[in-house]
Symmetry: C2
Subunit: 337 residues, 2 copies
Amino acid sequence: MIAIQSLFRAARNAAMGVVAFLIAATAAQAQPDPLPSWNDTAPKKAIVAFVERVTKENTPGFVPEPERIAVFDNDGTLWVEHPMYTQLAFALDRVKVLAPEHPEWKDQQPFKAVLDGDMKALAAAGEKGLVELIMTTHAGMTVYQFQQIVTDWIATARDPRFKRPYTELVYQPMLELLAYLRANGFKTFIVSGGGVEFMRPWTEEVYGVPPEQVIGSSIKTEFKMRDGVPVLLRLPEVNFIDDKTGKPVGINAAIGRRPIAAFGNSDGDLQMLQWTTLGGSTPRFGLLVHHTDAEREYAYDRDTEFGRLDQALDIAPDNGWTVVDMKADWKEIFPAK
Amino acid sequence: MIAIQSLFRAARNAAMGVVAFLIAATAAQAQPDPLPSWNDTAPKKAIVAFVERVTKENTPGFVPEPERIAVFDNDGTLWVEHPMYTQLAFALDRVKVLAPEHPEWKDQQPFKAVLDGDMKALAAAGEKGLVELIMTTHAGMTVYQFQQIVTDWIATARDPRFKRPYTELVYQPMLELLAYLRANGFKTFIVSGGGVEFMRPWTEEVYGVPPEQVIGSSIKTEFKMRDGVPVLLRLPEVNFIDDKTGKPVGINAAIGRRPIAAFGNSDGDLQMLQWTTLGGSTPRFGLLVHHTDAEREYAYDRDTEFGRLDQALDIAPDNGWTVVDMKADWKEIFPAK
């Protein structure tokens, strides 16, 4: 009996040894660049150095896996935000779809401006007009109805300049970065000023970020039983604006721990970067995408309506934040068609 | 060369075969009961049947892993809520700690009632008094300061009847259920009427539920830079009440998809169970813990101040919800000392 057990154990050990060797050989052989769309400039080096630092066990910089939280702004950081936020393009399209049921809109701002394609008049309607547009197009249905509306729109709408679906106008280097962080035990969250229910229907497929890791602005919802079926109705009332000082508030409310890495592109991300990088005892990483490539994408910073980067750019060096020069640091902008 | 490769491949295949055999043998041999503290009564059978149904691939009941979301109430579902919510015990203790800095409390309700140990006068102060107690003890500091206060309190406070830390007065059968669901690809969330920041400091250690999977009531916070250090200040203003109709609202806001299993014990969980179980196309599971064991824990339902179970108990059969009879269905109540 003992002889048989020994034989068995010997066979198992031999088998394990061969398997271990094969695994080690494969690992040593294949170490492909996890960030192939990044040039070998300072930002890529800083990212890799940070990730290697926090993942090296038994060193002072090591951060346990559950605390490896990374937060990403969406508009202008993960996908294009010019010439206008995609969610605004969605709202304008919705006004056109709903117009036949609202003949009064022909003479009523801001709807008239949208129907006439008069962007100047729309701008003149200001924030009040914008809120009215958003509430009219984003409220008054259940959360599932809205989800379906977004899903249908995002599948068919095309960006006028690039003639591609908006979900293809995501930054290839950032897709690689998301995957690289996750492969190193990070949990990746989106923290956007955009509407949370506008993003959730497609973030899992496009970014690999599940709905429960998407934080954003929201309107109020109300629970009702309707003919024995539970529904959540979307109300025309602001619940939370996840922008500027709202970003750390939203992060704390949803995640409950401080991220160790934050990625943004505008002053709307300033406080999120401060909250993430300043005052913590473990290594931290902050990064700003600077849009410098008018040819392949857009070039803008201090003087723009969408995604202004001004104060955050000024204080980046003192805070040790990495600034990506899109033109110089990114080999590719969008995923290959 | 080909000969060497063939040899290599043969060795690898042989090794893999042995390993596969060993794994299969181990699995067949050791199938320990994942719910040993549950008696073999209807609730346990219903739970196991549900889990087996949603995890069996290529069957109509199969639910892909990312959609296996389970939500748990906390007070009375995962831990004891009598003779009062633990968070209220915390607030009363905080009043006593802070009293020396507030000599005026000696003559001011509801503080006087707390300092006198006069529970009748405290009850007379009603909800307004309660809110004042909560705001005084839960606001006016940073989120990290509050986290530390909770951590220190929960480590030292003891339940007066059981003489054990509150974090040991958790239900052993529910700990097993949480682990069993996670082992089957579920993501487990807490959805409590209690304060989210009161739970997060200890839920990971006690329940295996990380802070980002805890949903609860909250007060408003405000982001500030203080001497170059970012802080989040807790303000004495209600942000969200995660109870009754608030639970589906909170679930949708934080998770963005409908759970497939919900566990509660009171009418405060009614809408969460409705939202989870009614109107979905995939299998759903709802469960209520009925406190029937005055000897080992407590017996209460329709006539109690904390955790009233009335309407939900009435409609449970029609909705197909499982009702746990604590006395009959649970072998053990608390973890062994």
